[in-house]
Amino acid sequence: MIYLTHTPKNGVPMQTKLVSSLALLAVATSAIGALGRPAATAGTISGHVTYTGTPPKMRPIDMAKEPSCAKQHSTPVMTESVVTGPANALGNVVVYISAGAQSSAPPKEAVRYDQKGCEYIPHVAVLQVGQPMGIYNDDQTSHNIHPLAKVNPEWNKSQPPGSPPIKATYDKPEFIAVKCNVHPWMHGTFAVLTTDHHALSAQDGTFSLEGLPPGKYTVTAWHERFGTQTQEVTVGGGKAATADFVFKALPY
């Protein structure tokens, strides 16, 4: 607040004039703010997932028993349970808000899960409770997808080539291991979460959770082999918060 000491000309003190202009400005700004939150004021939690120690070696998958899939790969396909990147980055880590966020209705947009070249793509599919999922067989061979749910109902379904996609939804949060009853090497995960604030760390380990109102949140990071970790993060209005996770890797 700037205080002006000399007497103004028009009879209204300069002080008052300045204060009232500033007040007007403040009211106008908050009025604009109240009309609709611009993206800049919603917070982001971003971070980096890395590991210490020696991760296990990924092994080449031999698809000789399924020639129609084997010939789709010019280089051997590797197992994907541990995806690493430069500088000890860890990919395929599911990072999500486990507490502090308001619940929201599941998106109507279906998550797509492909069986292509006798692999599950993506290796980790993240979806929300109640969100639809479409499972597609893009191969020349039959698959029999078998999500090994323990909390949700367990099912498996055969899908000959050319079948329509299987529609699936899950009603309870769970990390579900997925296998194919016909091809033993196929393996994936459905990460069924209660929140739509989730991200999958990229191969360089980075992730970003956006659209978070200011508040205190619990962020959970889950990795298929190395376990689960949580952190408390506070998001201030309009500022980006960070949360880094370091997992302990073992060679076997």
């Binding site: 080449p60 998958i61 000789a64 061979t141 296998k179 009853n181 016909v182 090497w185 393996h187």
Partner: protein
């Protein structure tokens, strides 16, 4: 009508015997040491059964032609002595043939299933599961690691349930989805099933062996040609049984040694 039937029987007999004699559809070329004996036994069986078949069918055709009911009341010839001696004659004739074939065939059978394997045979552990075969070699230390079924993790290529973290003999075990073997060397497979019954069948080797859950079954052979052949599951094991196969690659010795080194580097 009876004469027509006699002609048809004779024609069918000649055609089917010809198909077998000319070997239009026959077994694939055998590639194993004991295959020669099996094929010879197969031929002996086919010839002896075939001769009896042709003779009996042609005699049937002849009798039908000759003695078919002509509606004029003449009696039909009867086997000397009646029905009982006829049945006895047929039983002895066919029975004797079966017994002779079995006795002659036991030697070949015993060579595969009842004789001890060569003590220097290359040992390969075979696991059959729904719906693939996996093969395990002992690795540089020459020892197989212990199997822990609770550690089986197909998605991470640990099909056998090895524990390399705690079991050093398991660390160098080579696990492969293909059966690679050196040519002209005795091989000893130990077959075990992870879940239900399966079977191991390579037609070119002339051997087939069931996997029985709970048993570890030895199977030995020596391959004599450098080839790549299919191993198929011949025991219905579930919805993927039609798709259950692996490939056997018989390699020259030096190529096999190279293959083992490449595999060891990947484990």
């Amino acid at each position: 009508m009876g004469k027509l039937f006699a002609v048809i029987v004779a024609v069918i007999t000649v055609i089917s015997a010809t198909i077998f004699m000319t070997r239009i559809w026959w077994l694939p070329t055998d590639i194993s040491v004991l295959g020669v004996g099996i094929d010879r036994q197969m031929s002996e069986t086919m010839i002896s059964a075939g001769v009896l078949f042709v003779v009996s069918q042609l005699v049937l055709a002849l009798f039908v032609w000759q003695y078919g009911d002509r509606g004029d009341g003449r009696p039909i010839k009867i086997f000397p002595g009646g029905a009982a001696p006829m049945v006895l004659f047929a039983t002895i004739l066919v029975g004797a043939e079966i017994v002779v074939l079995s006795l002659v065939g036991t030697k070949v059978w015993a060579g595969i299933f009842l004789s001890a394997p060569d003590p220097k045979a290359l040992r390969i552990d075979v696991q059959a599961e729904q719906f693939a075969f996996y093969f395990r070699y002992p690795g540089r230390d020459g020892k197989f690691g212990t199997l822990h079924p609770d550690l089986i993790d197909d998605g991470n290529n640990n099909f056998f349930g090895l524990d390399p973290a705690n079991d050093t003999t398991a660390r160098d075990d080579i696990v492969s989805a293909s059966l690679a073997i050196p040519v002209n060397q005795p091989i000893l497979l130990t077959l075990h099933a992870k879940d239900v019954g399966h079977a191991f069948y390579v037609p070119e080797l002339r051997i087939q062996q069931d996997f029985v859950p709970g048993l570890v079954i030895p199977l030995h052979f020596t391959a004599t040609k450098v080839v790549k052949k299919e191993i198929v599951c011949t025991q219905l094991c579930g919805l993927g049984h039609y798709n259950m196969r692996a490939y056997m690659e018989v390699m020259p010795e030096n190529q096999f040694v190279q293959w083992m080194e490449d595999q060891a580097a990947q484990q």
